[in-house]
């Protein structure tokens, strides 16, 4: 009987710019079901943070309730974390981000946690453009409570229980674009080759970014009749365009053909190179992005990749014009102008 992961690692484990190995970004051993898509996403997060050379102690993981919301226990074991109440992760993240703008915020939620109980909170965290990466581990069901259809389950999709879902589904990406998110993407837990660079780009994006990751629930929602199953997603997905994420520190060595490549410079100086083909979507246009989502939906296709990106938007702190110093480090001395100044201010109103 084991339920311990050995601490031995490959002797040639590479190191990132900070001198850390991937092991420094791992968490505890997962207690999710074997084969759960959420575990793959956890590992993609580990890989992305390792490759981005984030300092683990400068990351905060926020989550709500659900199998998905349990995953922060399984990655970034040396980072901060807050496992909050069902559907309330956005408000906790908002508070934390306002108090300390120096951390990188990774929000982890489920489709139930976001599109049902947390829908109101989701809308407002986007509106305010909190600087965070919001990851929905989307399995179309309430995994933790034994697989009831969720609000992202497609109409007609059949889970293990076998009854087709009678209700319309919510497309979180479309909604986020409408609500003004500056970085919206969709991916699949079974495609790390796409997911890892998406995560890196989202982490580099300043302001709110959403990645809706379809993540099969192997236990309750993985029959081929479910539109969130491994088989269905593999057979029905199509990417907007291929892209490369080039982090700030990396030297650009390849030259790109201007006609087919759109470089997008991000807030921190990293670059996303989008490669266009004839039928690729213009992901820098909100309208085109929403059209593309609708068109693919009509054709029973799942559109993946970067769906919409805009580097023009201002995050909450910029909107509110807060000071550069994190608010939680301001002392009484910084905050209280002193009785003379106060008296002078009061005098103005006499």
């Amino acid at each position: 009987m084991t339920y311990r992961r050995p601490t031995f690692r490959h002797p040639n484990l590479p190191k990132n710019d900070l001198g850390y190995t991937k092991r420094d970004y791992e968490g505890g051993i997962s207690t999710l079901c074997a084969g759960c898509g959420h575990d793959s996403i956890s590992n993609a997060i580990i890989q992305a943070c390792y490759e981005m050379a984030l300092e683990p102690h400068k990351v905060a993981k926020m989550s709500g309730i659900g199998c998905s919301s349990k995953t922060p226990a399984y990655f970034l074991g040396k980072s901060h974390g807050f496992n909050s109440v069902h559907g309330r992760m956005p408000s906790i993240a908002t508070g934390a981000n306002l108090a300390n703008r120096d951390l990188t915020y990774i929000g982890v939620s489920g489709d139930g946690d976001t599109a049902s109980i947390g829908m109101g909170q989701f809308a407002h965290v986007i509106r305010r453009n909190i600087d965070m990466t919001y990851i929905v581990m989307n399995n179309g069901c309430y995994g933790l409570t034994k697989g009831q259809d969720s609000a992202t389950a497609d109409r007609g999709s059949k889970s293990k229980k076998g009854a087709p879902n009678p209700f319309e589904s919510i497309d979180l990406c479309e909604l986020a674009i409408q609500l003004g998110a500056g970085f919206v993407a969709r991916s699949f837990s079974g495609d790390k080759q796409q997911l890892v660079p998406l995560l890196k780009a989202a982490l580099a994006h300043k302001g709110f970014s959403l990645i809706d990751v379809i993540s099969p629930c192997v236990t309750f929602n993985n029959p081929d009749t479910s539109t969130k199953s491994y088989q269905y997603v593999r057979d029905h997905s199509e990417a907007t365009a291929t892209f490369d994420f080039i982090p700030l520190r990396m030297e650009i060595t390849t030259t790109y053909d201007k006609g087919t490549t759109t470089p997008i410079t991000m807030h921190d100086g990293s670059i996303i190179n989008l490669y266009k083909s004839d039928d690729s979507v213009d992901v820098t246009s909100r309208r085109a992005a929403i059209d593309a989502l609708e068109e693919h939906r009509e054709q029973n296709q799942i559109l993946t990749g970067i769906l919409y990106i805009s580097e023009e938007m201002r995050d909450t702190h910029e909107i509110l014009q807060t000071c550069d110093t994190p608010l939680n480090t301001l002392t009484e001395e910084d905050l209280c102008p002193g009785s003379t100044t106060l008296a002078a201010i009061v005098d103005q109103y006499r």
């Binding site: 009987m1 084991t2 339920y3 311990r4 992961r5 050995p6 601490t7 031995f8 690692r9 490959h10 002797p11 040639n12 484990l13 590479p14 997962s30 079901c33 074997a34 084969g35 759960c36 898509g37 575990d39 793959s40 956890s42 590992n43 837990s189 079974g190 790390k192 099969p216 192997v218 491994y230 088989q231 593999r234």
Partner: protein, 582 residues
């Protein structure tokens, strides 16, 4: 790459590094697990079937298995495989009734073994149970060959040697001791159905330099001197003795000398200590006994004064910081030469059909051990030069198989394929028949006799061996490399769970390529080239599964996390084909 053919018995065998590396292919992980279960008799018998001398080898084996042990690649030190062998030998009960039964009725074939070392004894242990009559000839007073005459008692007590040699002689081997065979031509007239030559590499090399003849009484060939000590013809040596040479024989010579009054014994080597031929643990033991090893000295002359040896003159050899300086005189009164051995066959005539190469070695088929005279087989050090006990045993098994095939009128080149089997280990979600948890303890040190005590008595065994408790802890360090990860491609849904959980990043799903390309594209490039890649057939996404076997911990987590049981943990049993076995 083509999908891996796991039906080839050698594929999974290669993954069991220790077993594959053991010349006799001892089922190491199986006996180590039995030790962990305190089943010492069973562990002993697993050893005995393959290596015939577990108690002896558990002390003095050359251990080719340890440098290749997988554990030594995931952390600093290999499993103490050899010491564990001793644990089962030391703690077993009387196992005599578990040895093969010898048929009363013989099969009518008679074979002769010339030389009574481990190679010949192995042939006897394989052929006696098949009803052969076996005659053994040796010029010594007892069987064991070099293990008896050379390996010092402080490393191998005589009691242990006698016990395991007698298991074989008691099968009814007819022994002819103190009998030197001086003519093969005459010997062949005796009408044996087959003859096995296991006479070892008995000639120690001499070092002819000025002063050699005058100094005869003070200069000894190491292996002859060690034999004289073992047979009590020599009981002391000069206080100032030099041992020339850097192999294991030199280590035995100097440590024996230290015990016979050679307080100031020193070892002289031509190169550096790092490049010495002796096994690391033998060098360690030598240094532990405060015997200096002097590097980069090349002998020039034995210095004789008034008919007595007073020193030896050395040149500073290549690589020495003093290279080019005046030669140095090191005072000494006796010298032991341990600079290598040759096999020599002055007793085999050139015109009887056994041909030799230009180095005087017999022409032997490396697989069948048959010589150019079809009924004569060679093995052990006599075959390809001085090696070690476990290699002699391995040769013995192969030669016995050849003799048996030959006498049954079959083609000796048609070797039966090894017996192999895969057995599932699953009990429940996280439960396995084997102990899958990886213990992270470091290798245990073997306790030793206090130095002051041991160097006074050449018969006192230096190493004390692990006790049962330490043996158990050391046994749990083994990561069960025979419990194979077997991939069932048709079940895989490519969910990545195995990739994510694997602690040592063994598993990859990627586009196929040739071996070099695949090795370079794995998440961690597979640059231990002698470790195989396990490649699946194409998966639905067009990729293949590629597992680098190099540092797999056999922890079973991939199988535990796989939702479809596409990975199974299965115990691979591999047994070499032996004479008479189906």
């Amino acid at each position: 790459m083509e999908p891996t053919d796991t039906n080839n018995p050698e594929y999974f065998h290669r993954v069991i590094d220790c077993q594959y590396g053991c010349p006799a292919h001892t089922r190491v992980p199986e006996y180590i697990r039995l030790i962990a279960n305190k089943r010492y008799d069973d562990a002993y018998m697993i050893n005995w079937e393959s290596n015939v001398f577990p108690g002896i080898l558990g002390r003095v084996c050359d251990r080719p298995c340890e440098p290749v042990c997988r554990r030594g690649r995931v952390e600093k030190n290999a499993v103490a495989i050899c010491r564990l062998k001793r644990v089962c030998a030391d703690n077993k009960g009387d196992i005599r009734d578990r040895l093969p039964k010898i048929p009363e009725e013989k099969n009518g074939r008679k074979i002769a073994l010339i030389g009574g070392g481990p190679a010949s004894l192995t042939v006897a242990s394989d052929l006696m149970p098949l009803g052969y009559e076996v005659d053994l000839f040796d010029d010594q007073e007892a069987a064991g060959g070099f293990i008896r005459s050379q390996v010092p008692s402080f490393r191998l007590p005589q009691k242990v040697l006698d016990e395991e040699v007698n298991y074989i002689l008691d099968m009814g081997v007819k022994t002819h001791f103190s009998t030197y065979i001086s003519s093969m031509k005459e010997f062949l007239e005796k009408d044996y159905d087959a003859v096995f030559v296991g006479t070892g590499a008995p000639r120690g090399k001499d070092l002819m330099l000025p002063g050699r003849e005058e100094g005869e009484a003070f200069i000894h060939v190491g292996i002859n001197w060690l034999a004289s000590v073992q047979y009590r013809h020599v009981e002391k040596i000069a206080k100032k003795t030099l041992v020339i040479g850097g192999g294991n024989t030199a280590m035995d010579c100097c440590r024996t000398a230290k015990r016979l009054g050679g307080n100031d014994v020193a070892v002289i080597i031509r190169g550096s200590q790092e490049k010495m031929k002796a096994s690391p643990w033998e060098i360690e033991d030598t240094l532990h006994e405060d015997i200096p090893i002097l590097e980069y000295l090349s002998p020039l002359e034995y210095v004789i004064e008034d008919g007595k040896l007073t020193g030896m003159l050395f040149e500073h050899a290549k690589g020495s910081p003093k290279e080019g300086e005046e030669p140095v005189l090191i005072p000494c009164n006796e010298v032991l030469l341990a600079i290598g051995q040759d096999n020599a066959f002055p007793w085999i005539e050139q015109d009887i059909g056994i041909t030799f190469d230009d180095k005087g070695r017999p022409d032997i088929n490396a697989k069948t051990f048959q010589s150019t005279l079809e009924k004569v087989f060679f093995g052990g050090d006599a075959a390809f030069g001085a090696q070690n006990i476990i290699t002699a045993v391995a040769h013995g098994h192969e030669a016995a198989l050849s003799i048996h095939l030959f006498l049954e009128g079959k083609d000796v080149n048609q070797r039966p394929i090894p017996a192999s089997d895969l057995a599932g280990q699953k009990l429940g979600y996280h439960d396995w028949i084997y102990h899958s948890e990886v213990h992270e303890e470091q290798r245990h040190e073997v306790p030793m006799q206090p130095k002051v005590k041991s160097i006074k008595d050449r018969l006192l065994e230096v190493e004390l061996g692990f006790d049962k408790q330490v043996g158990l802890k050391e046994a749990l360090r083994c990561i069960n490399c025979d419990i194979q990860t077997v991939f069932y491609r048709d079940k895989c849904i490519e969910c990545d769970a195995c990739v994510d959980i694997c602690p040592t990043t063994c598993i990859n799903f990627l586009a196929n390529g040739d071996e070099e390309d695949l090795r370079s594209r794995l998440a961690i490039p597979a640059n231990v080239l002698w470790e195989p890649l396990y490649v699946s057939d194409l998966l639905p996404t067009g990729r293949v599964m590629v597992k680098d076997e190099n540092v797999c911990l056999h922890c079973g987590l991939c199988a535990e996390r796989c939702p479809t049981a596409a990975w199974e943990m299965e115990k691979y049993t591999y047994k070499i084909a032996k004479a008479g076995q189906k």
